[in-house]
């Protein structure tokens, strides 16, 4: 770049800065709340910065610390597996990234009147070779700037791992940040990994609810004792700032601590599930995994896993594995195997999927094997099933019926033509 050009670019920067030279509204540091003493006695640490004060709690865990079925240190094995087996997967984390497990507690569900009163971070401390939990507690809403500033989220680059954080905690943080933007440096955009999304992929139709506590009990071997239900958190915080008594609030901090520890073990467990051979989980889970790889365009991995599922489990459990596998087989031109798989799938899958299977069978028989009689058989079954289905809209139903009739008509023609050729 020429000297002039460089200068010109710098001029732009200059212009911007002078243009942005707005007077920041003067910030008046709020007083600490009346209960500061009490909260310290309850076990919280007083932190003060230029914008006011907040409370903090810190806990350290060794790599051997066991939370449910896993030790926290196993996280590093998991990261290695990603590196060697699927580094382009959306849930893969590079060892270079700064991983921050993140969870908040709030006073409501939406809108500018919902406060975040607890920011919980769990991350590995390289120097001390230990995990450190840092919880920041909003001392009162007037001290919010101090609270947000202390989180350093405007400063550090991190990969944020959360449970439903992508659509809840982070947007809510953005709301709080915007409300205080006159005083705060801008919030950095961070990479978000939401383990609610991966859990949904893994345990769809396997777990009835995707609540973190449910996942802990069913998958991570962690059972909470004396936990505060999350929906009580707002009332407990209101009480703590009105009465000054932080005893029950400490239980919310414990709740948040468990949530964060479970995020680590959930990430470990999910990673292992994706790469281990079939072991203790259900056929549904492994089928989900196979399908997930398929949707990520890793068809070979997908086919291998689904294949394994069909071998490993009873026929009643493997309908869906067969169903998805059949598509894979069809794609690589294994027509006969695909047909077999679709047929094996039929007895145990939902009507909706069954309709698709009939359609595929009809297509394969008609266009690949030119077996019009068999194609006819499956088309008729499809049409028959369609009559019994109540879950689709009337217009769609008519459309589908029309398509099936069209197929039948065409098959009829083809068969007649074949017959007349024979004659």
């Amino acid at each position: 770049m020429s000297y002039e050009n460089k200068l010109l670019q710098m001029k732009k920067l200059l212009g911007k800065k002078t243009g942005q030279k707005q007077e920041k509204p003067t910030f008046i540091k709020p007083d600490p709340p009346f209960y500061s003493e009490q909260w310290q006695q309850a076990g919280l640490k007083w932190i003060e910065n230029e914008f006011g004060m907040l409370f903090k709690r810190e806990v350290h865990y060794s790599l051997d610390y066991k939370h449910g079925d896993y030790r926290l240190g196993e996280l590093f094995n998991a990261l290695k597996r990603w590196k060697y087996e699927a580094d382009d997967h959306p849930f893969a984390i590079d060892e270079q990234e700064t991983i921050v497990f993140f969870d908040t507690e709030t006073t409501g569900l939406k809108g500018a009147g919902t406060h975040i009163f607890l920011l919980g971070f769990l991350q590995f401390d390289e120097e001390e070779e230990q995990f450190t939990l840092t919880q920041y507690v909003l001392s009162d809403p007037s001290n919010e700037v101090a609270f947000l500033f202390e989180s350093k989220l405007w400063q550090k680059d991190a990969t944020i791992v959360s449970y439903n954080g992508k659509s809840f905690d982070w947007p809510q943080l953005q709301v709080r940040w915007t409300l205080n933007k006159q005083h705060l440096p801008p919030l950095k955009t961070q990479r978000q990994i939401d383990l609610l999304h991966s859990s949904k992929r893994l345990w769809k139709d396997d777990l009835s609810r995707m609540k973190l506590t449910q996942v802990e009990q069913d998958k991570l071997g962690f059972y909470r004792k004396g936990d505060i239900p999350g929906h009580l958190a707002p009332i407990i915080y209101f009480d703590a700032i009105k009465s000054g008594n932080a005893e029950t609030l400490m239980k919310v901090l414990l709740h948040n601590e468990w949530d964060l520890l479970s995020l680590i073990t959930l990430y470990i467990h999910s990673t292992n599930l994706l790469f281990d051979a079939i072991s203790t989980e259900s056929a549904t889970t492994y089928t989900n995994i196979g399908k997930w790889f398929g949707d990520l365009k890793k068809q070979q991995t997908s086919a291998e896993i689904l294949q394994e599922v069909t071998k490993h489990f009873n026929a009643e459990e493997t309908g869906y594995a067969h169903f998805y596998l059949a598509y894979e087989l069809k794609r690589v031109g294994e027509v006969k195997l695909a047909i077999e798989s679709f047929q094996s799938a039929l007895p145990t899958i939902t009507r909706e999927k069954k309709l698709l299977a009939y359609e595929q069978l009809a297509i394969l028989y008609e266009h690949q094997l030119k077996d019009y009689e068999q194609a006819m058989v499956f088309s008729e079954k499809g049409l028959e099933l369609l009559q019994q289905i109540s879950f689709i809209k009337e217009t769609q139903l008519l459309n589908k019926q029309r398509n099936w009739h069209k197929r039948l008509g065409r098959l009829d023609n083809k068969m007649n033509k074949n017959n007349s050729n024979k004659d």
């Binding site: 008046i28 709020p30 007083d31 600490p32 709340p33 006073t107 409501g108 569900l109 939406k110 809108g111 500018a112 009147g113 919902t114 406060h115 009162d140 809403p141 007037s142 001290n143 953005q174 709301v175 915007t178 409300l179 707002p234 009332i235 209101f238 700032i241 009105k242």
Partner: protein
């Protein structure tokens, strides 16, 4: 078959010689056409806008449009009075577009009273922008906006068109997602200002105070542009709604086509009781003539029931044709998709006749209709002109037929055409001070942004109210501020449209496998319209209410075919809670204050179509509804020799007559204010007339009555005296069951009151 199509002048001439019609035509009045008054384009007007206007064949502005542009340029809030079809939208489009062209970061909010109006205006504005060939983004933002596009509207929409409800619960509580809008907001356009009256207007006044508070937080100072139909106090209303000073543009430069007004009074069929033929039946006959003459007509009726009755009658005109859609009903309670269809049909001409409640008074673009029939006086001059404006948009000749009902106000208007044609229209009142409404919005405001210890809110001092909210447990007080501290979302707890917050959903169970929601209704109306056995009319079809689940607010209806409709009664008990103002006279006292009202639905009657005979009745089992509101009341002494029965009749008659005339003074519906007599009021055991706002907390109407009580009494007495009936009739003191002295006694009561107050 030969065509029977006729022009309006042919028709009017024919009617003047028609033996049947001419005796009922009380007056006929023609307003001659008015020439346009023009002004030059402002010199600063951006070339792209000039190009777009030229593209539409516009080469100069009407004077009011130019005045609007000039006020905006001087950064002044203003309100323009704009009759139907006067090109009012340019009053705000031009300044707004100009500003965006000068500074593309500029933003504007357009506020329309309904979703339909916003959508209508959007297509118009987008056409204009297309002609400008500029990159200006305008969107509607309401409940129908697709989630995928919302993000873009928040960040990049120059002009956001929405309604007060969406602003209240969808935008303001989430203002942090609208930073670029609030930081750069230059204009707030409020269209159809006159619709923001009463409870709704009082709520919207607060939504706007909240909006301004948020603008201040983000550092913007928007200018208000309001447009209004003709009302008496547009400037006052705008200033009270927006809590800001306004300039007023009163004179429209738009041309007006020739309008013929016919004042039509149905013939008296029972001279002793002064009973006239039903206006609905007269309208049916007149509509038939217009339909056969091929004239596209809009018929206004005041209630949903009337609309449905007329649709039923008129559809028989086309019953022999299959799939004929040329006659349609249109009112609140229809689903939006149904309404859009009808609007389209009117524009394209496939619908020739539409029967509507005042839903169509507003600026929904339905193209040009030729004639308008008003079934009864719509209650105020402003509405009457809005309705009349529906006929003959642009410069076409138009016919307006006003068919009087037998109520006092209707009879007054038909006998005094100059009242409608000549006098100034009524005032529109809002009451942002209504403490119930204020508190609800104060909660929303606190949710949106914390209040500091010296903050006020709008024009209100609120520190004590905030302390009250702290006691209520929704605010917390820190060293510097009041913060919202509750997991509730306060905006969801208020509905702007009705003081009674929940609506009753109407579910059609005619086909058990296919039950569907066909409409909804506010709880207060539901007490008298959706009780069990009520006949509910929807698109001309009759439904009987089979079950009313009052707890769940659901009415289950089944389609029926019967020859009657139902009409229900409410009994009312009143208690004085506090007296704020009082004026003592020698033997009477006039007071204003808070009252508690207990409304108890009692019985309903079945009334046969066409003959309107009473053919049966039954009880209503809905729990009573209690309401606290404002009232003005007058207690007085009467001669001792009156029997209790005489007293009851006289007071009931006086209340009936007075109630009818309140809308002559204040822009409100007949049902917004109630007049209820108590022979022995609970608080002082004296004969008392209560005049109260029909909404919880009051909306300032009865307070206004306190000031005009004497004029109201005089006007009432004059009308009752002049009424041609002998013993009292629906046009003065209400229908009388027996021949008696009621009318004389009503006049005596009124005279006593007037002489007390003189």
């Amino acid at each position: 078959m030969f065509s029977k199509k006729k022009t309006i002048s042919q028709l009017v001439e024919e009617w003047q010689y028609d033996e049947e019609l001419k005796q009922n035509i009380v007056a006929m009045h023609t307003i001659e056409e008015k020439q346009a008054q023009y002004a030059q384009f402002p010199s600063s007007l951006h070339p792209s806008i000039v190009k777009a206007l030229h593209g539409r064949g516009i080469h100069q502005l009407y004077i009011h449009q130019r005045q609007a542009y000039d006020f905006a340029e001087q950064q002044k809030n203003f309100t323009a009075i704009t009759p139907t079809a006067s090109g009012k939208s340019y009053c705000y489009h031009l300044p707004v577009l100009q500003k965006i062209l000068e500074d593309p970061s500029s933003r504007a909010i357009y506020l329309f009273p309904t979703k339909a109006l916003a959508q209508d205006q959007k297509s118009d504005l987008n056409e204009l922008i297309e002609l400008m060939e500029e990159d200006i983004l305008s969107y509607t933002y309401d409940g129908d906006t697709a989630p995928g596009i919302r993000q873009k509207i928040r960040k990049a929409g120059h002009i956001v068109m929405t309604n007060p409800d969406m602003l209240h619960s969808g935008i303001l509580p989430h203002h942090t997602k609208w930073v670029s809008l609030f930081e750069n907001l230059k204009y707030i356009v409020i269209d159809e200002l006159h619709t923001y009256k009463g409870v709704f207007g009082s709520h919207v006044a607060h939504v706007i105070r909240r909006l301004l508070r948020i603008c201040e937080f983000y550092g913007s100072k928007p200018i208000f542009i309001c447009t209004s139909a003709t009302i008496k106090n547009p400037k006052e209303l705008a200033e009270s709604l927006t809590n800001s000073k306004h300039e007023l543009i009163e004179k429209s430069g738009a041309p007006v086509g020739k309008k013929t007004f016919i004042f039509y009074n149905p013939p008296i069929v029972h001279p002793t009781f002064g009973v006239r033929r039903s206006a609905v039946l007269e309208v049916r006959d007149i509509s038939k003539r217009l339909f056969e003459a091929g004239i596209q007509t809009i018929i206004f009726a005041k209630s949903r029931v009337r609309v449905e009755m007329l649709v039923t009658y008129l559809k028989s005109l086309t019953s022999k044709k299959i799939m004929d859609e040329s006659i349609q009903g249109y009112r609140g309670g229809y689903l939006p998709s149904e309404r859009r269809e009808i609007e389209k049909g009117l524009r394209s001409g496939s619908i020739q006749m539409v029967v509507s409640t005042n839903a169509l008074e507003l600026g929904v673009d339905i193209g040009q209709l030729q004639a308008c029939i008003m079934t009864g006086y719509p209650g105020n001059i402003a509405s009457a002109w809005q309705q009349a404006g529906r006929a003959g948009r642009r410069q076409d000749e138009a016919l307006i037929v006003y068919v009087a009902q037998s109520t006092a106000l209707d009879q007054y208007v038909v006998q005094n055409p100059s009242y409608l044609l000549g006098s100034s229209p009524e005032e529109a009142r809002i009451n942002p001070e209504n403490i119930l409404i204020l508190m609800e919005h104060l909660k929303c405001a606190a949710f949106e942004l914390p209040f500091s210890m010296d903050d006020s809110y709008g024009e209100f001092e609120i520190q004590e109210l905030l302390a009250y909210l702290e006691d209520e447990g929704v605010l917390v007080r820190t060293s510097t501020k009041w913060h919202w501290m509750s997991d509730r979302f306060p905006a969801h707890e208020i509905s702007l449209r009705s003081a009674a917050q929940e609506n009753v959903v109407i579910i059609d169970i005619s086909t058990p496998a296919n039950t569907k929601v066909i409409g909804e209704m506010d709880t207060y109306s539901a007490m008298t319209l959706l009780h069990e056995e009520a006949i509910y009319l929807h698109q001309g079809l009759q439904f009987q209410v089979e079950k009313l689940d009052w707890e769940e607010k659901k009415a289950f209806v089944r389609e029926v075919d019967v020859d009657y409709f139902t009409d229900a009664n409410l009994a009312v008990e009143l208690k004085v809670l506090s007296e704020d103002k009082s004026a003592p006279f020698k033997n009477a006292t006039v007071s204003f204050g808070d009252v508690s009202i207990l409304a108890i639905p009692t019985i309903f009657k079945k009334i046969r179509f066409n003959t309107h005979d009473n053919i049966g009745s039954g009880p209503i089992s809905i729990p009573p509804m209690e309401m606290h509101t404002n009232a003005t009341w007058m207690s007085f002494e009467l001669p001792n020799d009156w029997t209790e029965e005489q007293l009851t009749d006289a007071l009931t008659g006086a209340a009936y007559a007075m109630g009818s005339f309140i809308p002559l003074f204040i822009h409100c519906d007949r049902s917004d204010v109630s007049v209820v007599p108590q022979v022995k009021a609970v608080h002082n055991e004296k004969p008392t007339l209560f005049i109260y706002d029909s909404y919880p907390g009051g909306i300032g109407l009865s307070e206004r009555v306190y000031d005009i009580l004497l004029s109201l009494l005089e006007r009432t007495a004059q009308h009752v005296t002049n009424c041609p009936c002998q013993q009292g009739c629906p046009s003065c003191i209400g229908a009388q069951d027996s021949i008696g002295e009621s009318k004389k006694q009503v006049l005596k009561v009124l005279d006593i009151l007037i002489s007390e107050m003189m």
